[in-house]
């Protein structure tokens, strides 16, 4: 009998450490469901995390794990994957970890098309340090370090990923769990750098400061504002402003780093042998 999604989780630790209604718990179990759906071998799977609320996720998995310094998760993952290409490497990062302090590593991992999956929970702020704005906070965001609103726009993480060379890009929300499960599984199966952005809720900070709403109301916002490509294209510009695109946004077949590097090693070996002769 195969493993169920709960077999990938340390269920004895639940309830987990996150605040009531924080969507990280939903994303966590969705990642486990994707593992189960793909029948991943826990001994061939590495969960890599950085720092932040979502960065605590590794503690809950019964796989290999790596919990490291803030923003560097993709660089650790690059070493892990390049040195053992058999592994499935899942990199769980928030918006602060993944595209703010880790922005440089993010674009370069995408450019290299390293075959790992980045699961980025974007809740538009730093939850763990007390609700400060991040590089994904929309302009005008109220946070504990921007009580007057921010004067800088936020990154569109999926656009950034695609522009930098990611070969699979998708966005979903914790309301859309069925879609989330499907996209995560697709991303993990994809050969090359895949990114799934999960628009997430931080009821304790971002939701409270900016919308004065609860976890449930954040979920309702996700339900109302997330639209797929077809519906999105039919919207007027004004309507678009209140919505965000979800679903698979980009997928292309391109050789990943390792495939190219293996060829390079062969050529280097042949040349070294010639030169010895």
């Amino acid at each position: 009998m195969g493993l169920t999604y709960r077999d990938y989780l340390r269920e004895e630790l639940f309830p987990q450490m996150w605040c009531a209604g924080c969507s990280h718990g939903i994303s966590l179990t969705a990642v486990a469901r994707a593992m189960a759906a793909l029948k991943l071998d826990p001994a061939e799977t590495v969960v890599v995390t950085g720092i932040g609320c979502w960065g605590k996720a590794d503690d809950y998995f019964k796989t290999h794990s790596f919990h490291g310094t803030h923003g560097r998760a993709l660089s650790f993952a690059t070493g892990i994957k390049v040195a053992n290409p058999r592994l499935k490497v899942l990199v769980l990062m928030g918006d602060g970890d993944g595209v703010t302090i880790g922005g440089n590593h993010f674009i370069h991992t995408a450019r290299r098309n390293i075959d790992v999956t980045a699961v980025i929970t974007n809740n538009f702020n730093y939850g763990m340090t007390g609700g400060q704005y991040s590089s994904s906070s929309p302009e005008g965001t109220i946070s504990t370090t921007s009580l007057y609103g921010t004067a800088e726009p936020g990154f569109d993480i999926c656009e950034l990923a695609r522009a930098a060379g990611a070969t699979y890009v998708a966005r979903t929300t914790p309301y859309h769990v069925t879609q989330m499960d499907k996209l995560l599984a697709e991303a993990i199966q994809h050969k090359g750098f895949s990114v799934v952005e999960i628009i997430s809720s931080c009821p304790t900070f971002f939701a409270r400061y900016n919308y004065k709403v609860t976890a449930v109301e954040m979920m309702r916002l996700f339900k109302e504002r997330a639209v797929d490509r077809e519906r999105y294209d039919a919207l007027t510009a004004a309507e678009k402003a209140g919505c965000f695109l979800t679903g698979r946004l980009h997928r292309e077949e391109k050789e990943d780093f390792h495939t190219k590097y293996a060829r390079l090693q062969q050529q280097a070996k042949a040349r070294a042998e010639r030169e010895v002769v």
Binding site: A43, S65, G68, S75, T78, V82, A83, Q265, A268
Partner: protein, 377 residues
């Protein structure tokens, strides 16, 4: 099979790494260490190894940590500001107990400082650069041959103690060319990390054996490996209890500091009857050796202790090597006085002399001679 080659110090480090079994290098170019990266990029791919040029030194350090945990012996090389950027993940390697080697070819600072000139200004950065209480192994070659030998030794110590090891060379040694003996893996001692021999379900990533070191499987093995940069318990899961923090930091410290007799290494020269002993490492030790020869010829009773291990500071070895007649120690180093602080702290019974230089030039034997004369030796 041993071969004689005419190599640069930087190239010899790569030869040593390869002989020790290294198959993964991640780095970022920086003067005067770039030849290490260049040599690695040529040597590793034909061996089925990897050279990957990262976006910065933070990522380089991270990538070698990741690759080491996937089972490949890994190293990087850097200098000056690049070494400063590595400090963050050097701490990660200490806390996560990840074997890896960092070749630091030091240059003049602070900041971008003297990019193409000489210095030994990283005595303290290599010891205390990353935050928090920790022990650190730093090896210091003073010739091209020693670049080879010490890099081999660095890998061996990192595998034995599950920790990062720094090979601290300098601009002059890195670029110096000398004829050396490059030995093959079968002619040198190669130590590999200890793998778990228990059942996978019994394995705990951070539960030490009697030697204070836990066995280390690779990602992909049946023994699930959990590496954690935050304070963690024996299973690798977060544990910030005061008792656990006290015990873990102590263990990480002790596994190195309690093994100074094995890790520490010095080389004595003309110590018999020496009333004054020079303590130096790297290029400065070569100038000091020449100064000793000259001084002895002139009847001055001087000797030299060359440090092959800078940290943990090989205090007991030095103490034992000194002649009972030794009254003063002269520390010669290419900085304003960093190593001398440790010597002063530990040798309160001796008169301490210093020769320091931070101009970007090497210390000359004559300058050491002058200092000896001035001190009335």
């Amino acid at each position: 099979m041993a071969e004689f080659k005419f190599l640069q110090g930087n190239e010899a480090c790569v030869e040593g790494a390869v002989a020790a079994g290294a198959r993964f290098f991640a780095g970022y170019p920086i003067t005067p260490s770039s030849e290490v990266a260049q040599a690695a990029s040529v040597k590793l791919p034909p061996l089925g190894g990897y050279y990957i040029q990262m976006e910065d030194e933070i990522a380089s350090m991270a990538a070698i940590i990741g690759a080491s945990l996937s089972g490949l012996k890994s190293f990087t090389a850097t200098s000056g500001p690049g070494f400063s950027l590595m400090q963050e993940n050097l701490g990660m390697a200490i806390m996560g107990e990840v074997p890896c080697v960092i070749i630091n070819v030091s240059r003049g600072g602070p900041s971008t400082g003297l990019a193409t000139k000489q210095a030994q200004g990283d005595v303290m950065q290599s010891r205390w650069g990353t935050h928090g209480d920790h022990a650190m192994i730093v090896l210091t070659p003073s010739s091209v041959q020693e670049c080879f030998d010490q890099t081999v030794r660095a890998f061996n110590l990192s595998e034995k103690y599950r920790c990062p090891v720094i090979v601290l060379t300098d601009k002059t040694i890195g670029h110096l060319r000398e004829r050396i003996e490059v030995r093959g893996p079968e002619e040198i001692e190669v130590i590999d990390r200890k793998k778990p021999d228990c059942a996978p379900s019994q394995y705990k990533s951070c539960a030490p054996d009697d030697d204070g070191v836990a066995p280390l499987p690779s990602y992909g093995d049946r023994h699930l490996l959990r590496i954690n940069s935050s304070m963690h318990g024996e299973e690798g899961f977060l544990n910030d209890s005061p008792a656990n923090a006290t015990a873990l930091v102590r263990r990480l410290w002790d596994k190195i500091e309690k093994n100074v007799s094995y890790i520490g290494k010095i080389e004595g020269y003309r110590l018999e009857g020496a009333e004054t002993v020079i303590i130096a490492f790297g290029i400065a030790a070569r100038a000091a050796r020449r100064a000793v020869t000259l001084a002895r010829a002139g009847g001055i009773r001087v000797g030299l202790v060359k440090l092959l291990t800078l940290w943990p500071f090989p205090y007991a070895q030095i103490r034992e090597a000194l002649d009972p007649n030794c009254r003063s120690l002269l520390v010669a180093e290419l900085n304003m006085g960093q190593l001398v602080l440790e010597v002063e702290r530990l040798f309160k019974d001796k008169k301490i002399l210093r020769v320091n230089k931070w101009s970007g030039e090497d210390i000359l034997p004559g300058e050491i001679m002058a200092a000896l004369k001035e001190a009335g030796c």
